[in-house]
Amino acid sequence: MVFGAGSNVVIAASAEVLNFPILTALVILPLIGSLVVALLGHSRPEWVKLSALISSVTTGALSLWLLGAFRAGEAGFQFVSQHTWISQWGISWHLGVDGISLFLVVLTGILFPLVIVGIDVHNNQTSYFAWMLLLQAGVMGSFLSLDLFLFFVMFEIVLVPMYFLIGGWGYEQRVYAATKFFLYTMAGSAFMLVGIIATVALARRDLGIVTFDLIKIAEGAKFSTNTARWLFVSFGIAFAVKVPLFPFHTWLPDAHTQAPTGGSVILAGVLLKMGTYGFLRFGVYLFPQAAMWARPVLFTLAVIGVIYGAIAATMQRDLKRLVAYSSIAHLGFIVLGIFAVSSQAVTGAVIQMVNHGISTGALFLLVGMIYERRHTRQIDELRGIQHVAPIFAGVFTVVMLSSIGLPGLNGFVGEFLILLGSFGPARWWTVVATIGVVLSALYLLWAYQRVFHGEPDEANSSFKEMTPREGLLMSVFVAIIVFSGVYPKPILDRIEPSVAALIKHVEGQTK
């Protein structure tokens, strides 16, 4: 078995279950937090924020502890936790973390407390925090699940709180945006549900048992070429909508623009990654041959996304919408990297998932701060902010340069590795995608010039400088941006072995 080494690690790692089920805790803690907040809301409203804080900060701390305890250089799943759930259908509570999911878990762990601490909501705190924490549980579960059924449940759970967050705390067109988001992703998931059931049913022939276990199916099932393709497509549609991949992207600008700042940060930071992560974990890993078959289409859509997203971003008048379109471009890079299936490209894709979460999350925070002050996101109503708020402008500049992919900052690492690693397997697609690097400078610098440069007019001349609290919040992002741009080695060392094992698995299956 190609993945034999990995399976041994799984067995060794399951000994850790005896100690402390950290992964289960990562999913359950925010869930409990959510319930506590919901219950306290009526009797003790003053404890709501505190409980939300405690729950999310503890989860964040646990995720950092996981990062420290994670053994670098190992390919397989670590901290595996497996308990039978519905035994007659072979469904189990099966969680595990490897290099591919590790940093997404940590990102989920730290992004939520930052959003909860850093952003005030002005109405109905109780429900807001309850939904936020439920959302965190769902996202954690999605990144940790090694069971197809569990993954699907988590993947779907996420929709509900996000729907309410956009619909309840968003801007002018929030209901339209929330409904569109919900229906679009739900429709995509329907295909995946069919795919999952079919996969399990068909895998039964090879495995002799009914199981939803990801690893068992991936290592043991032999689907016929045609079947695998159909199954891959059914999963692929769900993920393509989630990423979102061109032309399934139009829910995103609406959702992003209408969502409250916290919702946008989480949406860009981790939610979209459920799509790219899904492609990697459930697309490429389960159906390697079919994934390779679908490559030309996916490369093409990814590269169209890169260019098209950048062009559309350039012409946006709403700052938040501009950042939303830039996400489409950035996620195009990630999909390109995933399907290039080379060590550099896939590692780059994984690290880019995290870095995009940091940079775009930070951009949404900053745009949110601008909105708080000026009650507008329209680019032509903003002007000369750098003159009145130089520190704010300085932080924005660093985040912007990270998003543009300036070497020495985090955004470059993923983008460069993806393009470098894709150049071999997807030469001309990569050349076109590299044009996206030029365009990203265009739309962000142009927006910066219009918003920050120039002489501030009356409405903008009283723009408030960054407050200490905002500064503290942003300094976390800036620190990560600089550190992982200058010294990404510790991150790469943890991602790369798992990626190498995945690539070996793909090569073994497609020989």
Binding site: A187, A201, I311, L401, L445, H453
Partner: protein, 637 residues
């Protein structure tokens, strides 16, 4: 000694960090002194490394200092490593040396600016990036510096960002450079996919050993040249450089004349084995673009009235000269001219800054004149810079220009003529500038009569902190040619210093007519400079001939206009079209499908409590049915 190389970029970085944290507290002028000391320390460290290297035999003058592992992924092993070899140390010497002088000058020039400490923060950050660029051991570390200098250039061009023109110019510089970066990035991808490495040593070795196919070498070489065209302002990407003059004048001198814009020439020299392994026409492409840029920009400089614009086009033209040298295989000559040009062009820019400073921010040469009387030291040093760039012996520019022309003649006589015409125009427009600014009638005195009430507008000589750098640069512009004199092989100091890195190119032209008659070519070059100067005097000082400054030259052949019209016309229109398609067609279809489902669902289910719930229910029902079907099927098989 060579191990100390990490100190060279570290000191300016430390200076930048100090000014980032304490800059406001330090204030004017202490923040400037901190930055200047950091750069001076870096220069000192470079000198130490230089002497350390001098003590080694030529073949040992190569040391890689690895600081940490940067991007290790699978077969890719990129270290953050610095390379100490004759080329990098030479580059570091002139970069830190000139930077120190310009930092010193800026303490005077920027005095009183509200963002004084921020200016020096950017300036130090620039020097750090530039040193990373030249000291990098592999393409990616150089690219880190390459992008870093680009970002600093962006910050400094739009330093006075409340001025719209400065904001636009900064953005234009960054975006145009990014077009060039597309070339550098794809060159790296190609190098890695064909050689599995980005390290200069390994790439150049495989190019020299013939392991690299000519077609790949050509592609890598020309893609890097695309990057060089961006950073070093060559046709068709030069557009950003004249606009970059919006930045404070010390920035124009340091970044947009002496150092950053020569990065492209450095990169081509660093990768010269790749060019040698390419098809011969690759070199011709470089030479032709260089020659065309040199001539084009020189014709434009003839008709500019802004004191800095003349120098900007002149810089574009001189950079073209350097690429003409690179394309002729004359790498030593290219580096030689890069260094002498750094001396005299920094001098001219700083001189023009002194004039602008003294003229109370006036940049139009038509309002100057006779300034030698009130600004004697500025005038004297500017005149030395003029003699150097015009190619008058024994000043520095003469020797480097002559060496380039020698190689160009040996390679391609058509381009030699282009080079000569450019030299003539250079002498012509620089003489014009000197006359308009320092000689003739004082146009500013009429002015002071009108503005008399507003106070004294008489130009004044600049403070000493600005004059010292002028004098030092004037000295260097005078004797800089001694680095490489044509008379004997023993006087090829620069050539023999660079010999371990750059192939001694003289061998290629040894038997040619040009080489045997090099003194004749020398005489021709002197004659051409003389003609240019005399013609200009006849036109501008003696008014014997009417001035020829057609609008088309003033407007730079309307190339910039045409480019901006394409960008703002069809360019913006097509971008808008895509944005429109996205909202109305791609999203329109989605909403249409949504509507369709809604109306279907509406007619199927009369009691519709909510769209979302109905749809979700529908999906769940369908899913359950399918689940049942699969399970039944699974159970039967």
């Amino acid at each position: 000694m060579l191990g100390l190389i990490w100190l060279i970029p570290l000191l300016p970085l430390a200076g930048a960090l100090v000014n980032l944290v304490f800059g406001r507290k330090l204030g004017d002028p202490r923040a400037g002194w901190v930055a200047t000391l950091a750069t001076a320390g870096s220069f000192l460290a470079t000198v130490i490394v230089y002497f350390g290297m001098l003590g080694l035999p030529a073949e040992e003058r190569n040391r890689v200092v690895t600081l940490f592992s940067w991007l290790p992924v699978g077969a890719l092993k990129v270290d953050f490593a610095l390379l100490a070899d004759p080329l990098s140390v030479l580059m570091a010497l002139f970069v830190t040396g000139i930077s120190t002088l310009i930092h010193l000058y800026a303490i005077g020039y920027m005095h009183g600016d509200a963002k004084f400490s921020k200016f020096f923060l950017y300036l130090n950050l620039f020097v750090f990036s530039m040193l990373v660029l030249v000291l990098g051991e592999n393409l990616l570390v150089t690219f880190l510096g390459w992008e870093g200098v680009g970002a600093c250039s962006y910050f400094l061009i739009s330093f006075w960002h409340t001025r719209n023109s400065a904001a636009v110019a900064g953005k234009k510089a960054f975006v145009t450079n990014r077009i060039g970066d597309f070339g550098v990035m794809t060159a790296m991808f190609l190098a890695f996919s064909s050689l599995g490495t980005l390290s200069y040593g390994a790439i150049n070795e495989s190019a020299q050993s013939g392991a690299l196919a000519p077609v790949t070498a050509t592609a890598i070489g020309l893609l890097l040249f695309v990057g060089a065209c961006g950073k070093s302002a060559q046709l068709p990407l030069y557009l950003w450089l004249p606009d970059a003059m919006e930045g404070p004048t010390p920035v124009s001198a340091l970044i947009h004349a002496a150092t950053m814009v020569t990065s492209g020439v450095f990169l081509m020299t660093r990768m010269s084995p790749i060019l040698h392994a390419s098809f011969p026409w690759a070199m011709t492409v470089i030479a032709v673009i260089g020659g065309a840029t040199a001539l084009f920009a020189a014709t434009v400089a003839v008709a500019q009235n802004d004191i800095k614009k003349v120098l900007a086009y002149s810089t574009v033209s001189q950079l073209g000269y350097m690429f003409l040298a690179v394309g002729s295989g004359a790498y030593v000559a290219a580096i030689f001219h890069m260094v002498t040009h750094a001396f005299f062009k920094a001098l001219l820019f700083l001189g023009s800054g002194s004039v602008i400073h003294g003229m109370h921010h006036e940049q139009d040469m038509r309002r100057m004149g006779a300034l030698r009387k009130v600004m004697p030291i500025t005038a004297f040093t500017f005149i030395i810079g003029w003699l150097a760039i015009a190619g008058v012996p024994p000043f520095a520019g003469f020797w480097s220009k002559d060496e380039i022309l020698l190689y160009v003649y040996a390679n391609n006589r058509g381009l030699y003529v282009v080079g000569l015409v450019t030299a003539l125009l250079t002498a012509y427009y620089m003489t014009r500038q000197v006359i308009m600014v320092f000689y003739g009638k004082a146009k500013w005195s009429d002015h002071s009569a009108e503005h008399g009430a507003h106070g004294d507008l008489t130009p004044r000589e600049s403070p000493r902190v600005m004059l010292v750098p002028l004098v030092v640069l004037a000295l260097l512009s005078t004797v800089g040619g001694a680095m490489q004199l044509p008379f004997s092989k023993n006087l090829h100091f620069l050539g023999s210093w660079l010999a371990p890195v750059v192939e001694e190119s003289e061998a290629q032209i040894h038997g040619t007519w040009a080489y045997q008659n090099k003194y004749l070519l020398l005489a021709v070059a002197i004659l051409v400079a003389f003609v240019g100067i005399v013609a200009s005097i006849a036109v501008y000082a003696k008014s014997l001939v009417r001035t020829v400054e057609p609008k088309i030259l003033e407007q730079a052949w309307y190339y910039d206009n045409a480019a901006s019209q394409v960008v703002s016309g069809p360019g913006a229109a097509s971008f808008n079209l895509i944005a429109w398609v996205d909202t109305n067609i791609v999203d329109g279809i989605v909403n249409g499908v949504g509507e369709l489902v809604r109306s279907l669902a509406g007619s199927l289910r009369r009691v519709q409590s909510g769209f979302v719930r109905a749809y979700a229910l529908l999906i769940s029902l369908g899913a359950v049915v399918m689940l049942a079907w699969f399970l039944v099927r699974g159970a039967m098989s």
